[in-house]
Amino acid sequence: MKHLLSIEDLSYEEALSILDTAHEMARVSDGPVKKLPTLRGRTIVNLFLEDSTRTRISFEAAAKRLSADVINFAAKGSSVSKGESLKDTAQTLQAMGTDAVIIRHSASGSAHWLAHSPWMNGSVINAGDGTHEHPTQALLDAFTIRKHLCGGAGDLGGMNVGIVGDVLHSRVARSNVLLLSKLGANVVLIAPPTLLPVGVESWPATVSYDFNREIPKLDALMMLRVQQERMNDYFFPTSREYAQYFGLNRDRLTLLKQNSIIMHPGPMNRGLEITAECADSARSVIVEQVKNGVSVRMAVLYLLLAGSSEIASAVNAEVNA
């Protein structure tokens, strides 16, 4: 594995190995010394061309716990968000001897583009590209589900996961549908038809417009952020009506099975897709998702950067060291 661009590229085995590695990384994060020498001397650039403090600091924490040098390259709304200069940026980073670039960009496919451009030799990690994918978010969600509902090991066979809300604009939903189904879970997308993409029938998930009917079947419930602005683009009439049909509130919480968990990729719109009461309830694992994010990102960085694939076959000595 050289890059992490999308869940679509990831095999079942690779996905499981990331989760298993993350499990070990979590142990480090829980120990008294939260730092490993593993990536000493490696340079990682956080290229965040779209605002996202939480994802950026999660990657930064992960990289630093593995002793990598981290350079933050953020440029919101500047010339860098224009297409032409992504090439210049790539060339600059390459010239600086960057081992990996973690890229967040508003354009779908930008991570793929960067990884396949002739100007970048290092690893590329997709930290969210437009409305395409956000693979590490899906991995941390799978990790969280596995930890709570599957004994912390193996895949997610038989789990029923509901993803609720603005699927159309959600890279989190895209990555999760692919990953959770790959790991054996049954995914149901719950949203008004306006917030589901044309072509969703080709996804490995089922679709429902009836939140109440689905809730009792779910082991994990993933609420997506709904932006208020969507209202202006005719996706739904009012935020009140949206919350009424697709928001998670006290009444719906009572329909949930005993051990089911509530997730949200953040940042939340309390009162729109989820009430404060639900977000802060005992079922909610939202804060823990953030913590697991660091472990999962450590695992990804470790698997992409710790070894050298170039001399993979060359060195066979020291098997007994």
């Binding site: 679509e8 224009k82 297409g83 032409e84 992504l86 090439k87 960009h105 508003s106 354009a107 779908s108 496919g109 930008s110 793929h112 583009w113 396949h116 590209d129 437009g130 409305t131 395409h132 994918e133 890279r171 895209r174 993409p197 044309v198 072509g199 969703v200 080709s202 996804w203």
Partner: protein
């Protein structure tokens, strides 16, 4: 006097004939030419080749004036000659927009000065392509450029009333409105065909209905005001159905398809390579098949390239920021041969109709599209249909390199193009000055 003898070639009707050209016209066609001038004629060896009348493109972006970094009338003419074209139609979306007699005459004269193909300017329908106020259509029609085709291409004339008035107005000089059918409200920020692939890639979808709704509306408008409508670059199976319905009702509508929409599909976007980003977008295989069928049965009248050059920096970026468009003059005939002729959907005679006769008729280009017959202007394209070539973006005559066919092997090598008896492209012996 100059004379050429095209020897040993096969005509579109599959007969083998020699063709004698004296000065600007075809003077004799025979199994064995007998005229005295044949003795002093330069012989062009056309064995293994098909001899076609010069191709006519009704949809070309030459970018001059204003974007000479991506193409000029001269470089575009060179690309046209190389692709076997003897006439192109320069779209109006230049800087400044070709919405006045002054700009269309400038483009027309640049074409004449280059002399590699006829350059027929297309006039804008509305001032600045803004869709609000009609441009001076009459002035452009009566200018030296004698404009008959009007289009806001790049933009859709989306206001129904503006479209109605334009259709009515051009009747006085037998003009035609070439519509770029795209409902703007259904395609805000749209990036690619809306469907399974767009749902996966997270690229904003461009629904087929955004194109079809405008086609249907404009057909009804053209019928209502009894005017002439041309649909640019049809891309959907639904659009083909609507045009077929209109023609059955006798409505005066013509339609075009581009070579790239005859060959390429939307799954190419999975590479996120903006060379496949085009307006209207690449569609599905089902659409491609419907377009081929429509072109073969005459529902679609012509092939037009929508040759749209862009500088490297407009394509060397992530998909969303990239410009729409592909170059196509140099590969058009080869793509048509591969998709339509080699697949047995069409004969070479039909190719002559779709790529020479019909586009000249729609555009009112009386000097072009006359076929290979004695007395016709000697506009000729000689193509070796048995040879293949590999498209190389670095070897194109166009100033831009945004060809989606880079690396593909295509059939049909143009070996000679002739405009009124003058060789404009010679793929075998020598380069002709442009």
């Amino acid at each position: 006097m100059s004379a050429y003898l095209i020897s040993g070639g096969t005509l579109a009707d599959n007969t083998q004939k020699d063709i004698l050209i004296v000065d600007e016209v075809i003077s004799e066609i025979a199994t064995k030419v007998v005229s005295a001038s044949a003795a002093s004629a330069v012989v062009i060896d056309a064995r293994d080749c098909i001899v076609l009348p010069g191709l006519v493109d009704l949809h070309t972006h030459l970018r001059e004036p204003g974007r000479e970094d991506s193409e000029t009338v001269a470089s575009g003419s060179r690309a046209a000659a190389r692709g076997g074209f003897t006439a192109v139609s320069a779209m109006a979306n230049t800087f400044p927009v070709a919405d006045t007699a002054g700009v269309v005459e400038q483009v027309y004269r640049l074409g004449q000065a280059t002399g590699l193909c006829d350059v027929f300017p297309i006039g804008a329908v509305t001032q600045g392509l803004l869709g609000k106020q009609l441009a001076e259509l009459g002035a452009m029609a009566s200018s030296a450029a004698r404009v008959r085709v009007f289009s806001d291409d790049g933009n859709c004339v989306s206001d129904a009333m503006v479209m109605r008035r334009a259709l009515e107005y051009v009747k006085q000089f037998s003009g035609v409105i070439a519509q770029h059918a795209q409902d703007p409200t259904l395609t805000v920020d749209a990036q690619m065909n809306e469907g399974v692939i767009s749902s996966r890639l997270g690229l904003k979808g461009w629904p087929a209905v955004a194109e079809e709704a405008i086609i249907a509306r404009d057909i009804l408008l053209a019928d209502h005001v009894q005017s002439r409508l041309h649909i640019c670059h049809l891309t959907t199976a639904g659009g083909v159905e609507i045009v077929r319905w209109a023609k059955a009702r006798g409505i005066n509508v013509t339609a075009e398809v581009t070579p790239h929409h005859l060959l390429l599909t939307d799954d190419l976007a999975t590479s996120y390579d903006p060379v496949f980003k085009v307006n209207p977008p690449l569609r599905t295989l089902k659409d491609v098949m419907a377009l081929r069928e429509g072109l073969a049965d005459g529902t679609i009248d012509i092939v037009a390239t929508d040759h749209a050059p862009h500088p490297t920096e407009s394509k060397e970026c992530e998909w969303q920021s990239a410009a729409f468009g592909m170059i196509g003059l140099e590969s058009a005939l080869s793509v048509v041969q591969q998709t339509m002729v080699d697949s047995s959907l069409m004969t070479w005679e039909q190719v002559v109709d779709r790529m020479s006769v019909a586009p000249a008729r729609i555009g009112g280009y009386s000097n072009q599209g006359q076929g290979i017959r004695v007395g016709a202007a000697a506009n000729i394209t000689i193509v070796n249909s048995k040879k293949k070539w590999r498209v190389d973006k670095d070897l194109v005559a166009s100033r831009s390199r945004n060809t989606p066919f880079h690396g593909m092997e295509l059939p049909g090598v143009v070996i000679c193009t002739m405009l009124r008896g003058k060789i404009t492209f010679d793929g075998q012996m020598r380069a002709v000055n442009g």
